[in-house]
Every structure is written in structure tokens, then in C-alpha cells.
């Protein structure tokens, strides 16, 4: 390790320890400080642009630092950005809100912790909403860690509203059927019989012993499907089998990477609505009146996107200038 690198490592470690043991908790910037930070970042971007034009291109690590800082600093800022609800999120909410109390919703958690920042806020908002509006929910997972994410959402709902802990009963108001391997074949089999795929729930309770599942044989006994997906198996497989073959009414929440692939299903009416990425999650939180992580994250998202756009502009300016000089 070089001397400079060693100094950088020691500085970072000391900084983190200072944050851990010395910084005020929680740390919040005043509006004036927030404004100064934004101005300083804009100035830094201008300096980078100037240096790049002068033929001194910056290292890629500088871009990483800028993106990192633009993601972190907004955590401590106190203002919120206005969020406009998109039609696809509104459609998702409308179909959920139209369900009468006692309706059964099948929620498939097809993601794992890496995708949780985008999908967990959707799941949390939905589960809280469902519990408060007396919707019965059946939780399943086609990804191994999906059912655990479902448990986290249930816990989050109870933590947010402790009265629900008394009111909501496992097996009657919700069940977690757990994970089942087999991807789309699981959905295919569920079209005939849920019990065949999930003979016991996650707690090894027999299917027939669960009061909620007494009258649930297959998709025809479910009022709505809500798929939270980060890849395969996910929304595409649910649409191909549960929607198109067994006519399940379905809405979906997807990671932003997946959203462009799911939009055609929305346009064709195969799914009713869609929550795309963190923006979709934030919009859903607004509609369900369950402010959560997604709304908090939106300021950081916006800052980071602006920084990415600024660096795209800088890159293009430098490119066109160098081309002109070569000519």
C-alpha cells in the first residue's frame, strides 16, 4: 500500500469512527447548510467541466465520489420534493382500494435482500394497508429469501401500528406459505391446487389446518394477485401462467431494471397497474398514506440523477471539443 493510500484509509476509518461516536444523532442539516452544500457541489461540477475542457480529464473515482456524496448528503437534508403520482401507480392503488373488506390477495415476494431498497417499501406499504383495511393476504415466494422479506413487512406493519399486533391473527388474516422451488411450474401447479405446491406453510402448519386457506383451492378463489419482482421468476412468469392461463387479476411492483420489460403487459391490459422502482414505491406510499423509506430516498435519487446527467454533459462537451481540435 502506498503512503497516500494509507493516509486515505486512516482518514476514512477515523471519519467513520467520529461519525459513530461523536456526531449528533440524528444528524440534520438546516436549510441554509443544505443550500450551501448544493452550491458547493455545483461549483465543484463547474471546476471539473473547466478542467476537462482544458485537457485535464478527471479520474473515474472522482465520479464515484460525487455520486456517493450526492446519495448520502440528502439523507440529512430536511426538505422533501413534490412527487406526482403516475397513472400506472394510481391504477394499482385503485384496484386495491376497490377490494371490499375480507377480500383475499395473493402476494408473491419474488426478490431477495439486494432488491429490497426498491421493493420492500412497496411491500411494507401494501401489508400495512391490507391489515388496516381487513384484506386477507396469502404470502408466497418463488425466490428463497422472499418469504423472509414478507415476514419483515409484517413486522414493519406491527411496529408502525402496535394495535395491529392484537387485531391481526396468523392463519386467519394472513398466512406465509413460504418458498417453493420450480419457478413457473409452481404457478402452473397453483392454478390447479395451492395445496399441491404448499402442503404446509412456512411454520410447517398443514395447509388444511389454516383457517384462511380452507376455502382457497386455486387462483379462482383469490380476488387479486400482487407480484413484487426483481427478475426471473417474476412478473413475466406470473403473467404468462396465472394471468393469461388462469385469468388472475394482477398488479405488480418491479425493480426499475425490470420496469421497461413489464410496461408492454400494462399497455396490453394483462396487468392492471405497476409500481416501477423506487419512484413507484414512493408514489404508492403517498396513495396509501404510509410514508416510508421510498419517500425519504427520493431526494437522494434526484440528486444522484442530476449528478449523473451533469457528468454525461461534461463527457459530451469534452468529446465534441476534442473532436473539433482533432479536425
Amino acid at each position: 500500500m502506498k503512503r497516500g493510500e494509507l493516509i486515505a484509509v486512516i482518514t476514512i476509518v477515523c471519519g467513520l469512527l467520529a461519525c459513530k461516536f461523536l456526531a449528533p444523532k440524528p444528524l440534520q442539516f438546516s436549510p441554509a447548510v443544505s443550500l450551501w452544500i448544493i452550491i458547493l457541489m455545483a461549483l465543484a461540477c463547474l471546476i471539473i467541466l473547466y478542467l476537462s475542457i482544458k485537457g485535464k480529464p478527471i479520474e473515474r473515482r472522482v465520479v464515484f465520489i460525487f455520486v456517493g456524496v450526492s446519495l448520502i448528503l440528502p439523507f440529512f437534508m430536511q426538505f422533501r420534493l413534490p412527487i406526482k403520482v403516475s397513472p400506472e401507480v394510481q391504477a394499482s392503488y385503485d384496484v386495491i382500494a376497490a377490494l371490499p373488506p375480507g377480500s383475499t390477495v395473493l402476494v408473491s415476494f419474488d426478490y431477495d435482500p439486494p432488491s429490497a431498497p426498491e421493493l420492500q417499501p412497496m411491500a411494507d406499504a401494501f401489508v400495512k394497508y391490507a391489515f388496516e383495511h381487513d384484506l386477507k393476504i396469502i404470502l408466497v415466494g418463488l425466490w428463497p429469501q422472499g418469504p423472509q422479506q414478507a415476514d419483515l413487512s409484517v413486522e414493519a406493519a406491527f411496529a408502525a401500528n402496535p394495535a395491529l399486533r392484537e387485531k391481526i391473527r396468523y392463519g386467519i388474516d394472513y398466512v406465509n406459505l413460504g418458498f417453493q422451488s420450480g419457478n413457473e411450474f409452481v404457478i402452473l401447479r397453483m392454478g390447479e391446487s395451492f395445496k399441491a405446491m404448499f402442503p404446509v406453510d412456512q411454520r410447517y402448519t398443514l395447509y388444511d389446518s389454516l383457517p384462511l386457506m380452507k376455502n382457497i383451492r386455486n387462483f379462482s378463489n383469490v380476488d387479486l394477485g400482487f407480484n413484487l419482482s426483481a427478475g426471473r421468476p417474476g412478473t413475466t412468469e406470473w403473467v404468462q401462467v396465472a394471468v393469461d392461463r388462469y385469468h388472475l387479476k394482477m398488479t405488480a411492483g418491479n425493480t426499475a431494471v425490470q420496469a421497461p420489460l413489464v410496461y408492454p403487459f400494462l399497455k396490453s391490459g394483462q396487468i392492471i397497474g405497476m409500481l416501477g422502482g423506487m419512484t413507484g414505491a414512493a408514489e404508492f406510499e403517498i396513495l396509501t398514506e404510509k410514508p416510508g423509506k421510498a419517500m425519504t430516498y427520493m431526494l437522494s435519487q434526484t440528486f444522484a440523477h442530476v449528478i449523473v446527467m451533469v457528468f454525461i454533459v461534461i463527457g459530451n462537451v469534452v468529446y465534441f471539443r476534442s473532436r473539433k481540435e482533432q479536425a
Binding site: K20, F75, V257, P260, P264, K267, T279, K293
Partner: protein, 208 residues
């Protein structure tokens, strides 16, 4: 114990992020631990979910007259393990053939219906319906589909009106790729946000 777990997770997160500077020992240790833990986790999950929950409990479910069919899956699974042996390794082709055949059969119909026919039928529709925003939307959709298809038509030279349509098709494709890239950036930022939220919230306790 929870605090220890949080510290461990924080150090592993920093270790993985350190790759952004350059490849280093800490990153390689974190990566190896992650791969090992993932493999172990998957093994344990599949053992309890498949072998115990699905097979063991299923075969002992006397109310299910079809429970003996579970042996078919078990036998195919065991045949897959014959791959480890040189002499009888050819037996592993049978379960593979079963998996490939079943998947192809399912996908042939499902993909054709959901991803092809349903999309075609939702594209073929009257342009002039609904209000002006809808008409503009439909026109862009129709134009995009036609020009996109023209771009991929290689039996005729892309010249004149045909060439113009092909160029327009290229533009539509570029916009699509751009939108897709934008969404990808958003997704990756979200993942990073999740880790920073953990570091500054759960670990450092600086967030509200």
C-alpha cells in the same frame, strides 16, 4: 449479538465498496465469504424446502392418494447425481431431458400467447380513439412498431422512404435503450441507497 451482526455487515459493506477504488485483499475476502455463505444458504434452503417439506412431509401425507408420484421427482433427482460417476454419468441426461422438454413445452405456448399474440393484438387498434393525448400515444406506438420492423428488414436496401423509415426506427430503438438505461441507473442508485441507509442509519445511527 445484534450489534456484532450490524458491525460485521457494515465492515463487509465497506469491504465490497472498496472495490470502487481498486481490487484489494479486503474486497476479495468479503467476496469469498459472500460466495461461500450464499452456497451454504441455498443448500440449507433447498434441503428444508424440497427434501423435508415437499418430499418427506408429502410422502407421509396419507390424505393424498397421489403422494407416491413424489418418488418420480426423487428418482430423477438421484439420476442427476450420477453425473458424478464416469461410468453411469449418461443417466443424468434423462432428468435433464425431462427438465428441458417440460420447460420448452410450457414456454412454447406461454411465451407465444403472452409475449407475442397479446402484444400484437394490443398494438393493432384504431389510432383515432379517445382524446388527443391518446391519439398521439397510439400514433407514436404504431409508428414505432412499423419503423422498428423496417429497420430489421434486411431484404431491401435501406434507401429513400424505406431508408427514412429505417432511420426513424433506429431513433425509436435508441430512445428505448436510453429509457432502459435510465431505469437501470435508477435501480443501481436504489441498491446503493439501501447500503448507505444501512451504514448511516443502522450502523452509525445518524438517521432519524
Amino acid at each position: 449479538m445484534e450489534a456484532f451482526g450490524i458491525w460485521l455487515a457494515a465492515l463487509f459493506t465497506i469491504g465490497i465498496i472498496s472495490f470502487l477504488y481498486k481490487d484489494n485483499v479486503l474486497y476479495r475476502v468479503c467476496e469469498s465469504v459472500f460466495v461461500g455463505v450464499s452456497a451454504g444458504y441455498w443448500f440449507v434452503t433447498y434441503f428444508w424446502d424440497n427434501l423435508y417439506r415437499k418430499f418427506y412431509l408429502g410422502i407421509n401425507d396419507t390424505t393424498n392418494p397421489n403422494r407416491f408420484f413424489l418418488w418420480v421427482g426423487v428418482i430423477l433427482g438421484v439420476l442427476m447425481l450420477t453425473r458424478l460417476s464416469g461410468k453411469i454419468g449418461w443417466l443424468s441426461r434423462w432428468p435433464l431431458a425431462f427438465v428441458v422438454g417440460a420447460t420448452a413445452g410450457l414456454y412454447m405456448i406461454a411465451f407465444f400467447v403472452s409475449n407475442a399474440m397479446m402484444q400484437v393484438s394490443s398494438t393493432i387498434m384504431p389510432i383515432f380513439r379517445g382524446g388527443w393525448p391518446m391519439i398521439i400515444d397510439n400514433t407514436i406506438l404504431a409508428l414505432g412498431v412499423v419503423c422498428g420492423l423496417v429497420y430489421f428488414f434486411f431484404s431491401k436496401e435501406h434507401k429513400g422512404a424505406f431508408g427514412a423509415a429505417s432511420t426513424l426506427g433506429t431513433w425509436f430503438l435508441m430512445v428505448t435503450f436510453g429509457a432502459s438505461f435510465g431505469y437501470t441507473v435508477m435501480s443501481r442508485m436504489s441498491l446503493m441507497l439501501g447500503r448507505f441507509d444501512f451504514l448511516f442509519g443502522s450502523w452509525l445511527g445518524m438517521l432519524k
